[in-house]
């Protein structure tokens, strides 16, 4: 079996003050993924290596890493595509907890803030919510997000200003705002309207390039800018007593 050079970024908080690189060689064939390679290293070469994974099929969103500086899912990236070898580092823009494991709590806090769930006007109805294919088509694309955080590693605005809500959270806010069964738009707009909401984005667009599920968060964020502008105009023309409500 051929072998490939893999350079790993290691960080052991018990003894290290900063990350360093460590070189490994792994055996691989056409079906070996980056995640398989990490398992090979941990099982046979260095059991102290730490990384996250779960489903191995690009749906759990746990195994995001930087592959040669590009955010990728380890399970969906194959060694056959990197004949010159590869460098693996933890997802960019997040604090590194250990080796390839990052602390995603900033992203998860932002996700919580935009309320990524259906908000009903009153108590949930006893009848099922019906939705036409056209109503579904409005938001369906944005509902494929698996919260892997690759778009946060790709977003320089999140890197420059960690308070920026970021691509996935805003894409999910947009997804629920577009849903005909939802009536929580006003609550989400309050977050999106701020400097750390949609206005933190400068349309670098790289978030959409790296998304492993084809979500196009850049489109969601920038459609959100139009929504936020309209929301501001409407607020401007609203009678004062409505506003104080």
């Amino acid at each position: 079996m051929p072998t490939l050079a893999i350079r790993l970024q290691r960080y052991q908080p018990e003894q290290d003050n900063a990350p360093h690189w460590q070189d490994f060689r792994v055996e691989y064939d056409d079906s070996t993924s980056v995640l398989d390679a990490l398992e090979q290293i941990k099982a046979g070469q260095d059991s102290s290596l730490s990384y996250r994974w779960s489903c191995r099929m690009a749906i759990c969103g746990s195994c995001g890493v930087m592959v040669n500086g590009v955010p990728k899912l380890g399970c969906k990236t194959f060694l056959r595509d990197y004949p010159k070898g590869l460098q693996l580092a933890p997802l960019g823009n997040f604090p590194v907890e250990k080796d390839l494991i990052v602390d995603m709590s900033r992203f998860l806090d932002h996700l919580t803030a935009i309320k990524p769930y259906l908000i009903a006007e009153a108590a949930p109805p006893s009848q099922p919510h019906r939705q036409t294919p056209a109503q579904l088509a409005r938001y369906k694309q944005f509902s494929n997000c698996i919260n892997c955080g690759l778009c946060y590693a790709a977003c320089p605005q999140f890197g420059l200003k960690p308070d920026f809500l970021g691509p996935a959270a805003i894409a999910l806010a947009h997804r629920y705002n577009l849903d005909s069964r939802d009536s929580g738009k006003a609550e989400r707009m309050a977050q999106l309207n701020s400097d750390n909401g949609v206005w933190g984005c400068t349309f670098v667009g790289y978030c959409s390039t790296v998304c492993p599920k084809g979500v196009d968060p850049a489109a969601a964020v920038n459609q959100g800018k139009i929504a936020s502008t309209l929301d501001g105009v409407i607020q401007w023309f609203k009678p004062a007593k409505e506003q104080s409500k």
Binding site: I119, A120, L160, S228, T229
Partner: protein
Amino acid sequence: MRTNKQDTPQTTPRRSDEPIWWSLFSAGGVCVAMLVPAIALLVLLGIPLGLVSAEQLSYQRLHALVFHPLGLGVVLGALVLPLFHAMHRIHHGLHDLKLAHGQLAKWLCYGSAIVLSTVAIALWLLSAF
């Protein structure tokens, strides 16, 4: 599914004033893309490129075109909105390059766009009337 009443109260962040600057930036972006190539090719570079003659850019013709009542639209589309477009990108660029952020940089950027736009509109008004 949750209802409104179950949600925990959250502090509402301040509404950004970016919609104003972003709208001007976007309108300016359309104008730059649509108008600048034609004006650059035919007016600013027209004679060197041989696309127009000096007679075509005569004082009489240009004066009549630019200071026609509809010429104000050209001043807005080719000067004012592109200025706001440019200063918006410079404002965000300063943040991207970690050179400056905060209120001073912001008002220097948009302030200069406002001042230069006022100059452009004043120049037009003085000659058109």
